[in-house]
Symmetry: C2
Subunit: 549 residues, 2 copies
């Protein structure tokens, strides 16, 4: 049997576009003599549809699109398409929908699989929408004389022999194999995070080896605001023979179950994968939002330089503009480094000095500022003047503003709400500062794009004279592992101190900083998810009294 | 048996404070000769703890606090206390925690009930944290010779004879009664929304009548950022005899199962309840955030006037400051109405004209603004200058900034990100404009606090000459029911047009406006939840292509 892995990019709610794409890939699959074409999870409506699923009209439009796909796809081809399906048992007390797979053939379609394991953690809320299917062993369809077991994304992520810790008691893969499946197809929308391509490869291979059947894993590709789907679709035989996955691009790959597969899964190195995910994420967001260009405040520092470079790779140099906004506290090299970056990248660049605005605000605020001592209000004011200038520029010229904050400063709140946090998208707020440097150096691997000075100078917010980040923080190579332990692994202050060697009181101070600035992250821009624990997936109370000593 | 309903206000993560309060109420219950004292859901750690539950250290601190409560509470008293409990079956594939109730007595404690129905909709994410308990019939403890069945919040909200539509197949109340419970206690954290007090009364009475046993419903009170718990604890006998609930205040009420209960449940009228919820919400947020005062931009319009009045009722007039920021487009009455309000309320008031700042921005932006035509950029700039002034004032004086947007304008995006959306809390963003007027008139019932002119003048953003909201929108008494249908009930454009009589193309235009500005709500301030469908509980994709015609 020849199976086409249709790794497509869908758009939430774009029923006409998604249906047209599914039909086009089906035609390509048929032209390549495939017997079966497999599409990702919720391919008909796009993933994740969130509360659009609560609209009855959305489900009706979905069903019409699925019928249209069936009417227009090549009739001799068998399609397996991720979709939603009404829960016929809902009247007795249950969610009205299942996350499902339709078998499309001969102009018609029927639901042949429903999802059992509903991810409800991190950024995932599937229990909010779907009823879990209790009988995964029924998810089998016979195609061309072969019994094909179907699981949906998370269904394939609960093997007791592969995972140390499991969230669910049932393993749907085990169930469909026990029920006679000779091949298992996973219809998936599994977002990328660092290390995910290699991990998926090991997991799918382990399942093929354990169960003695081939595994085909078809994943969504493309950016949906925060979630970045890498594709990385897989086909693995019990011998370990595999198909090389394609990442961050649409692909149609055909495998023949009767032929030998010989390639090893090679995963991209970390910086290359970060680059692929962020570039995809910027391009997808700007496009899905109906824009085609962006503006970035360029401080001369590494964060904004990196975001500008990634934006150029996503949109093209003619679609990116940088704005330098020096104050009297800005160092001499700030504008020079920003200008050098703009020249290297070939992007437009403007300088808008903020001193006249600082003076104007000082004049208006003078009657109501009894204390004239320079403090947080004055520091934040500079950042908010810059944020207002950038938004005015963006509004006037029809650009999206990108936010340049990284994960380290977003963790501890070294950012100003309504100032440097302004922006429609935060491309690197899930990269630690040490990862920012690594990615910048990788981008310079074939020649300098980001000025070396921006990479090598000591980090500073430049909001008061001679300010350095290290005035109040440990160096980032010391800080980042501590934050990773506290924020990503949710290890205790005590355990983090023991693990990292930092004094416990200092770890406790950092943990309190992280917890105290949840209000800043609450109003932060949508953040590209690049790890298994990004801000949109870490849901902490805004106001609470929990501290650790 | 005498039961003390301990309606307390807890703080998330404040283990010492919550434990001290539980012990203090237990002592008061013992002094009132109660046999049993019942506390709300998750009283030990506060509700909702969200991702703090993922920290092992949090669970350890919780268990220590529960042990301390047991050691310090009166030994002869039986306490039923909402808490978390380890899931002993987690190793076989399950969530590690249950939402539970501990029976505290004689210096020790044991878990006697676990939650079966985990709300995972609206603002609730309990499936993210807890394993559902499959055997609610085991939630029975014998106290003073009486078999007491225990359910936890949502467990009491799935009666097949009371609800038309059910999310779950199991009714835990039915199960504990069938297993012999002679009294059912509901340990709850049920947030308020309009009409909730009366609804709960009907629901609990229906259960008491149906099952022929008394029902005791002990609810949390107090504000936790967005969620406002009204308390409103209930005790109802099968005869319908009840205890009058106390709303928006801590309370300890003792009922004797052997004595007659005679009162009717009287729920507060809508405006009084809105007032109670919002005042509690502002006070709780400001206090839990470690502040004691706030600043509000006063435009002379109804929204900011209402927020200032509610803030005075929450914090006191000496803790509220108003700032008027007229531009050249502001009408003459704007500052006059704002000043009159400040005088009526007895709050501080400053006027900071923004013309010098508009001129300064115009000067800096002039070289990069090729088109000088007045447009969205210029409108937004005024709002962002005001937002920056307010934040500077708030930062300098240690106030929290309150956001004054209402639900109608937040729905359609008549607000400027990083401008008038700035603020730590949005007290009225879940009130339609028509509800804003109703609440303002109610606040003036014993004399004018909000100037009549602010209530009666036509709404205007005053961002360009002679601008009125009705230039581009229908009047609010026409608009609000349409938005309610689209946003709260998620009815289709077609159904909404039919229901309201508005032309279908106009409804489609409004629906597209709502869907197009999800990015503004994504970065909006925490919003007090006053309805069953508030912005934090409506989770829509930020970028998608779904429209209805």
């Amino acid at each position: 049997m020849k199976i086409a892995l249709c790794q497509i990019d869908t758009t939430v709610g774009d029923f006409a576009g998604n249906a047209a794409k599914i039909v086009a890939f089906a035609e390509r699959a048929a032209a390549a003599a495939a017997d079966v074409a497999v599409f990702p999870e919720l391919a008909v409506c796009g993933y994740p549809p969130e509360d659009l699923l609560l609209r009855q009209a959305f489900a009706e439009r979905h069903d019409a699109a699925l019928a249209e796909i069936a009417a227009r796809a090549p009739r001799e081809l068998d399609l397996l398409v991720g979709c939603i399906a009404a829960n016929v048992d809902a009247s007795s007390g249950a969610r009205p929908l299942h996350n499902a797979v339709a078998h499309v053939h001969g102009g018609g379609h029927r639901i042949v699989a429903r999802k059992t394991l509903l991810p409800t953690y991190d950024v995932f809320d599937e229990s909010r929408y779907f009823e879990a299917w209790r009988a995964p062993e029924s998810n089998i369809v016979e195609l061309h004389g072969m019994r094909v077991g179907i699981v949906i994304c998370e269904d394939g992520w609960n093997d007791a022999t592969f995972f140390d810790r499991r969230l669910y008691a049932i393993d749907p893969v085990e169930r469909v194999v026990a029920a006679g499946a000779e091949l298992v197809v996973n219809v998936s929308a599994s977002p990328w995070s660092a290390g995910k391509v290699a991990f998926r490869g090991r997991m799918v291979e382990a399942a093929a080896v354990r169960h003695g059947v081939p595994m085909v894993y078809v994943n969504l590709v493309g950016g949906d605001v925060e979630l970045q789907f890498d594709g990385g679709s897989l086909a693995v035989k019990p011998t370990g023979a595999a198909l090389q996955p394609v990442v961050f691009a649409e692909a149609l790959q055909v495998v023949d179950t009767a032929a030998p597969w010989t390639e090893d899964v090679v995963a991209p190195p970390t910086e290359q994968a970060h680059h692929g995910a962020i570039v995809q994420g910027i391009a997808a967001y700007v496009r899905k939002f109906g824009f085609d260009s962006c503006v970035i405040g360029l401080s001369g520092g590494i964060d904004s330089a990196l975001v500008a470079t990634l934006a150029v790779d996503a949109l093209g140099a003619d679609k990116v503009v940088g704005v330098g906004m020096p104050s009297s506290y800005s160092s001499e090299h700030s504008v020079a480094d920003a200008r050098a970056l703009a020249q290297n990248l070939g992007i437009g660049f403007h300088v808008l000095p903020i001193a006249p605005l600082q003076q104007a605000f000082d004049g208006v605020l003078d009657p109501v500022f009894e204390s004239k001592e320079f403090g947080v209000a004055e520091e934040n004011l500079q950042s908010r003047i810059r944020g207002t200038l950038l938004m005015a520029y963006a509004n006037k010229h029809g650009h999206l503003l990108l936010t340049t904050g990284n994960k380290s400063e977003t963790a501890i709140g070294y950012c100003t709400l309504y100032g440097d946090t302004n922006g429609a998208l935060a491309p690197i707020a899930d990269l630690w500062k040490t990862e920012v440097w690594a990615l910048a150096r990788w981008l310079n691997r074939d020649g300098v794009r980001i000025p070396v000075s921006s990479i090598e100078k000591p980090p500073s917010a430049e909001l008061r004279p001679d300010q350095l980040d290290t005035d109040s923080l440990p160096p980032y190579d010391v800080l980042d592992p501590v934050l990773e332990s506290l924020v990503v692994h949710e290890r205790s202050v005590a355990a983090t101190a023991e693990l990292t060697g930092m004094a416990r009181a200092e770890v406790a101070r950092l943990f309190a900083m992280v917890q105290n600035v949840e209000f800043k992250r609450y109003q932060f821009a949508p953040t590209l998810r690049l790890s298994e624990r990004c801000w949109p997936g870490r849901r902490m109370p805004v106001a609470h009294r929990y501290r650790e000593a």
